[in-house]
């Protein structure tokens, strides 16, 4: 009998109240660490308007990583990029998507991110095409075929948002691959998985499918919502894609959005060829003009036939017609703005004082925190952090540089 006692000896030795207070302590510790998804402590009251805002420290943290991102983006700049992308987005609507570790649940978060991604995708790759595959009940439904209109995709996705059953990697991969087989040789084939499930139920051996995909030069990237799944990671490694796991909803958004800009091209993924295309002008036709064929606003530069919308092919001479803005949208991938230097790091005095009376040369905002200010290397103008971000992520111009180049170009020209 002593043995039984001895066996339970541990629980006897420490008395209850000790237990109780230890339990309290660990509970508190746990809450501190794991209950702070809503980062209250990041918030502080804005002195100017009585509203809450994210406090400076948090801002600075974010600032650093954003800047790191910009720098890397600037580095990646010159590389050849696939402008003609044919991509499938596979949205995992299996049972796992109903879990509620995101607010309100994964399904809505993922749905929103996907829609946002589709729009952004077409913003950045106007000439590319995209389709959506939904994985549900172990099968792959091709929600939308490859096409160029973001709204259609988003609408389709919005209507399709309900989750059930298992997720099958093999089926979805097969669906994507078979339909990507037929695209022209100069386009880059891609598949983006948004995966909530932690397992895949496949009819056969998923590895054969993965090999086939690899052979078909399809680049598969995976963004996992929950955790790292071995086979998924291997898949992305095999096919030269990227693999990411989201820490929280925002991170998920970042991960997905990271696939919007065109990826650097693998040498053998596509082969180069010359395609002739025209840039029609928009000319209004007077009501009483007599026109045979379509009466559109655009005029084909070669046969001056009329076309309704762009991009398209000339109905008369089959010339591929795009509007130059379509092309222009993707220019900034080719000439990213070089990352700005940190201002404080260059001016010691500013560093010491910390606060200096600075004015952002772009938006005239007075810069309070010099450590966040930055400086363009060419025109050595100082920018506030907001402008820095804005310039690199949205505008893709350095205002003063573009003036300067203007002048300099004229000098050169003379």
């Amino acid at each position: 009998m002593t043995l039984i006692g001895a066996e339970g000896g541990g629980s006897e030795s420490d008395s209850d109240e000790i237990d109780a207070e230890r339990a309290q302590a660990s509970l508190r510790a746990w809450e501190k660490k794991y209950q702070s998804e809503r980062a209250w402590e990041d918030l502080e009251e804005d002195p100017l308007t009585g509203r809450l805002r994210v406090n400076a420290r948090a801002v600075e943290l974010r600032a650093r990583e954003r800047r790191a991102k910009m720098a890397s983006a600037a580095l990646r700049g010159g590389a050849a990029k696939g402008m003609m992308r044919f991509a499938y987005v596979v949205v995992d609507l299996s049972r796992a998507a109903n879990e509620e570790d995101f607010r309100p649940n994964r399904l809505s978060v993922v749905g929103h991110c996907a829609a946002a991604f589709v729009r952004e995708f077409f913003n950045q790759n106007p000439l590319s095409q995209l389709g959506i595959i939904v994985a549900r009940n172990g099968v792959a439904e091709r929600l939308t075929e490859l096409s160029g209109s973001p709204e259609a995709h988003c609408a389709a996705l919005r209507n399709a948002l309900d989750a059930s059953g298992d997720f099958s990697l093999q089926n979805t991969l097969n669906a994507a691959r078979t339909s990507l087989k037929s695209i022209p040789s100069y386009g880059s084939r891609e598949v983006l998985y948004i995966m909530s499930s932690l397992a895949t139920c496949d009819p056969g051996n998923v590895w054969t499918e993965i090999q086939a995909t690899k052979a078909a030069k399809v680049r598969v990237s995976v963004v996992a919502v929950a955790a790292e799944l071995h086979v998924a990671r291997r898949l992305s490694e095999e096919t030269g894609g990227t693999y990411g796991v989201s820490m929280n909803a925002d991170h998920l958004d970042d991960l997905i959005m990271a696939h919007a800009p065109p990826p650097p091209l693998a040498e053998d993924a596509t082969k180069s060829c010359l395609v002739q295309m025209g840039f029609p002008q928009k000319k209004h036709v007077s009501k009483d003009a007599l026109i045979v064929g379509t009466r559109g606003d655009y005029v084909c530069p070669r046969c001056s036939g009329r076309i309704d919308e762009l991009p398209s092919q000339c109905t008369v001479c089959r010339l591929t017609l795009v509007s130059s803005p379509h092309l222009a949208r993707s220019y900034h991938h080719l000439f990213p703005v070089p990352a700005f230097k940190e201002y404080a790091s260059r001016n010691v005095s500013a560093k010491e004082s910390g606060i200096v009376a600075l004015e952002c040369s772009a938006c005239l905002a007075s810069i309070t925190d010099a450590s966040l200010a930055s400086e363009c290397e060419h025109c050595s103008n100082v920018f506030c952090f907001a402008c820095d971000i804005f310039i690199h992520e949205r505008l893709h111009n350095c205002p003063h540089c573009s003036c300067a180049t203007h002048v300099e170009s004229r000098k050169k020209a003379s």
């Binding site: 043995l3 039984i4 066996e7 541990g10 030795s13 339990a23 660990s26 929950a226 071995h230 086979v231």
Partner: protein, 797 residues
């Protein structure tokens, strides 16, 4: 890379390390070893798996050998053949590196592995035999000295064209064949040597095939020339085998026991004997056959028996048991060599027939003892008295039984030992019980505790003192190291094994990220405590909560999950309950479920399918048992084990009499409290189980201790340091839902890409080491480098 270890003690050692970066804990480990080696003392070091224990030990020892030629062989004892091969592979790398650095001739080292005939035999006729015993028997049949003599004379006879009548033995040996490999080896004689190098079993077999030498005997011969020997525990600990193999080793050897967390049990098993009805029956049968042989021998050649009688009169000492350099290694005395009295065999068993008669009586006596219906437990002395009183056999006689039997079998030129196994077991029993009065217990159980109505009498001679078997090792060799991933509390092992180490340290791993996340689940989502204590383990709520834990993990953790239960019976019970309540179905929605069974084949099949399921992303759960094969041997690294659940505290079966006896003994001799020992034993098993999932620093895994008792300090404290250091407050005393939150966060953060340069801070490369060395040795550098490195964990028991 080369660097010098200087602990301020004696001359610094230059260590040759085949890789170009080394973990801080490895350096610390080497310093510990150096201290012990310098002091010619023993050591016990705990270092988590996945930090390159093996290569650390090897490179340190070999480097030390190079610096101090007077140090003898390095004897590396492993538990299994695969581990052995792994060690030898590492050794190859080291060898190659040293040769690169020093040139081939300075570093002429011979390293080889040694295993049973089964693993080494190249003779197809023999190797095809199924079991280990049958291979041994077959081999002996071909290589025993007299067999070969007979063959020679047979050949002579054949040469003389005279067809002689076969004698009996000739017949039942099925014609006199022989093993060409062995013959070749014998004829090669002195010239049969291995060139320096590293030989795994496979290499040895190939070499053997090429040269047509028997690799087994070649290896055994070469032991005396080798610098590094890798073989199984048994060869060192089990006196029967050790006296055969390890007797030739010189004193200056360095002995290393790897994965030594269970070494005390190994020692105990080496000296324990169980006798069942069955055994005794067989023994009886073999006695009769023995009689028959004796009679035959009487008719054929009285001479041999007479010679033997003479020999015995002159006493065992002069008897060259091992002489006649044949392949017959018969039975060796189970008793530690020093304990064998160097005196003549008592008269009453000198004559073969008398001896057999005594054996017969003894067996009868044992049978009689087995008839008793209630449990009996007594000391050897009591047993001897009883035996003397009822069977008229005194202890001295018993003590000699074994050797007597050996010599008899020799004289009768018996080669197929397997038919005398039972008898030798009895003799073994006799010898042990005759020799040791202390540290043993005789326990007679008429039936198994668990099935009281099925009579299954068993007479157990249980060794209670682990130090008995290993003492000679400690005494003989100048430094012995025991090392493992889990040796905590580090100061208990010296007590158990009866030695005092120069260094006893528990090293931690320095991690670049918190890649292992242990947590203690004490209650279910309904706040009811979970535990496998006897009183609550069948409570449906507990079972339900346990099920919930697994369900939760199944939908939170990708790929593979392993769950360990305290016993087979408990696992069967709980799984069936889960099946009834539908929890199993729920689990199956997320992952496939595989179960370990007592059947090895089934289990390995299940394991194989489990791995397949993990590879193809389906995900799987493996239900296993602590103290089972899987818990000891199988790794669940990488995606094969992302999480491991330890259901309950795996206490030994506390009602078993042997355990009780041992506990008493420990309390009396070593003043180790029962509860402490039990807890220690249970916790080390648990640590073993959860340790399965982390096999390298790049790996990551979740470790769930699902029992409220783990929350108490005396359990937690006994866990190895590399786990306790991660048992932060926030992962203690969790309920299931909280635990799932933790798991989710952990899985996410671990899945984030982690760049290699982070791992720099837990890696020393060459110039860093040089810098540290310049700054004045690692004693300063290390704590700075990894502060939580190597704290002495002192659990006072």
């Amino acid at each position: 890379m080369r660097f010098t270890i200087d602990d301020g003690g004696s001359a610094p050692i230059e260590v040759f390390f085949p890789y170009d970066s080394v973990y801080p804990e490895q350096v610390a480990y080497m310093r510990e070893m150096k201290r012990a080696l310098d002091a010619r003392g023993h050591g016990a070091v705990e270092m988590p798996t996945g930090t390159g224990k093996t290569i650390t030990v090897l490179s340190m020892c070999v480097s030390y050998q190079l610096a101090h030629p007077e140090v003898g062989k390095i004897i590396y004892c492993t538990r299994t053949v695969p581990e052995m091969e792994k060690v030898l592979e590492e050794m190859k790398a080291l060898q190659a590196y040293i040769e690169k650095e020093l040139g081939a001739e300075t570093a002429r080292m011979l390293s080889l592995g040694l295993s049973s005939r089964k693993n080494m035999c190249v003779n197809p006729a023999v190797a095809d035999e199924g079991s280990r015993e049958s291979v041994d028997g077959r081999c002996r049949r071909l290589t025993a000295s007299w067999v070969r003599e007979r063959r020679l004379e047979r050949q002579a006879r054949d040469a003389g064209r005279t067809v002689a009548a076969e004698d009996g033995e000739g017949d039942n040996e099925g014609g006199v064949s022989c093993c060409d490999w062995f013959e070749e080896f014998e004829t090669a004689g002195e010239k049969a040597v291995l060139p320096p190098g590293v030989y795994t079993l496979h290499d040895l077999r190939q070499f053997g095939r090429a040269k047509k030498w028997c690799p087994y005997f070649l290896a055994r011969n070469m032991i005396s020339f080798a610098n590094v020997i890798v073989y199984n525990y048994q060869y060192m600990l089990d006196p029967k085998v050790a006296s055969l193999v390890s007797s030739a080793l010189e004193k200056e050897c360095v002995v290393v026991f790897d994965e030594a967390h269970n070494i005390d049990n190994v020692c105990i098993e080496a000296l324990s004997v169980n006798l069942r009805q069955q055994t005794l029956e067989n023994a009886g049968r073999s006695i009769t056959s023995l009689n028959a042989r004796i009679d035959k021998a009487k008719q054929t050649d009285e001479r041999r028996l007479r010679q033997e009688y003479e020999r015995l009169v002159n006493g065992l000492a002069q008897q060259g048991v091992l002489a006649r350099g044949g392949g017959e290694d018969m039975l060796m005395n189970p008793v530690i060599p020093d304990d064998i009295l160097r005196e003549a065999v008592p008269g009453n068993i000198r004559r073969a027939e008398h001896f057999v008669a005594v054996l017969k009586r003894f067996v009868e006596y044992l049978k009689f003892r087995l008839q008793s219906t209630q449990v009996e437990q007594e000391t050897p002395t009591a047993f001897l008295q009883h035996c003397a009183a009822n069977a008229g056999i005194d202890g001295k006689t018993l003590k000699f039984c074994y050797d007597r039997l050996t010599s008899l079998l020799k004289t009768l030129e018996v080669v197929d030992m397997d038919e005398y196994n039972a008898l030798s077991l009895v003799a073994n029993f006799a010898a042990l019980v005759g020799t040791y009065s202390k540290g043993f217990a005789l326990i007679l159980e008429p039936y198994d505790e668990r099935y009281p109505n099925i009579p299954d009498p068993v007479l157990q001679l249980a060794c209670l003192d682990a130090s008995l078997a290993i003492k000679p090792v400690f005494e003989r060799f100048q430094s012995v190291f025991i090392t493992s991933g889990t040796l905590s509390p580090i100061d208990l092992y010296p007590k158990l094994l009866g030695f005092n180490p120069v260094c006893a340290k528990s090293l931690e791993m320095t991690l670049t990220r918190e890649c292992l996340c242990p947590m203690v689940i004490t209650r279910g989502a309904d706040q009811q405590a979970v535990s496998t204590k006897f009183d609550v383990r069948d409570d449906p709520n507990v079972i339900q909560n346990y099920g919930r834990i697994l369900v939760g993990l199944a939908q939170t953790v990708p790929d593979g999950i392993v769950a360990f239960f305290v016993s087979y019976s408990y696992m069967e019970n709980i799984v069936s309950k889960w099946h009834e309540t539908g929890i199993l179905r729920e689990i199956m929605q997320h992952k496939l479920v595989f179960i370990e069974t007592t059947d090895v084949v089934e289990t390995s099949l299940a394991l194989d399918n489990y791995r397949r399921a993990c590879n193809c992303g389906r995900g799987a759960i493996f239900l296993s048992v602590a103290r089972g094969k899987v818990a000891e041997g199988i790794d669940f690294d990488r995606h094969y084990g992302r999480a491991v659940v330890m259901y309950g505290v795996p206490y030994q079966y506390t009602l078993s009499r042997i355990l009780r006896a041992r506990l008493e003994y420990l309390r009396e001799t070593f003043q180790i409290k029962e509860s402490d020992f039990l807890a220690f034993d249970a916790v080390r098993q648990a640590a073993q189980c959860v340790g399965r999932v982390i096999r390298s620093k790049k790996d990551y895994g979740l470790m769930v201790f699902a029992d409220k008792r783990y929350n108490s300090q005396d359990k937690r404290g006994k866990l190895p340091g590399w786990i306790t250091s991660h048992l932060h407050e926030e992962v203690l005393n969790l309920s299931t839902d909280m635990a799932m939150q933790v798991a989710r966060t952990f899985m996410r953060s671990m899945s984030q890409p982690f760049s290699h340069d982070d791992s720099k801070k837990s890696l020393f490369d060459q110039e860093m080491l040089n810098r540290l060395a310049a700054e004045g040795g690692y004693r300063e550098a290390l704590p700075a480098q990894a502060r939580k490195l190597a704290p002495e964990i002192m659990m006072h028991i």
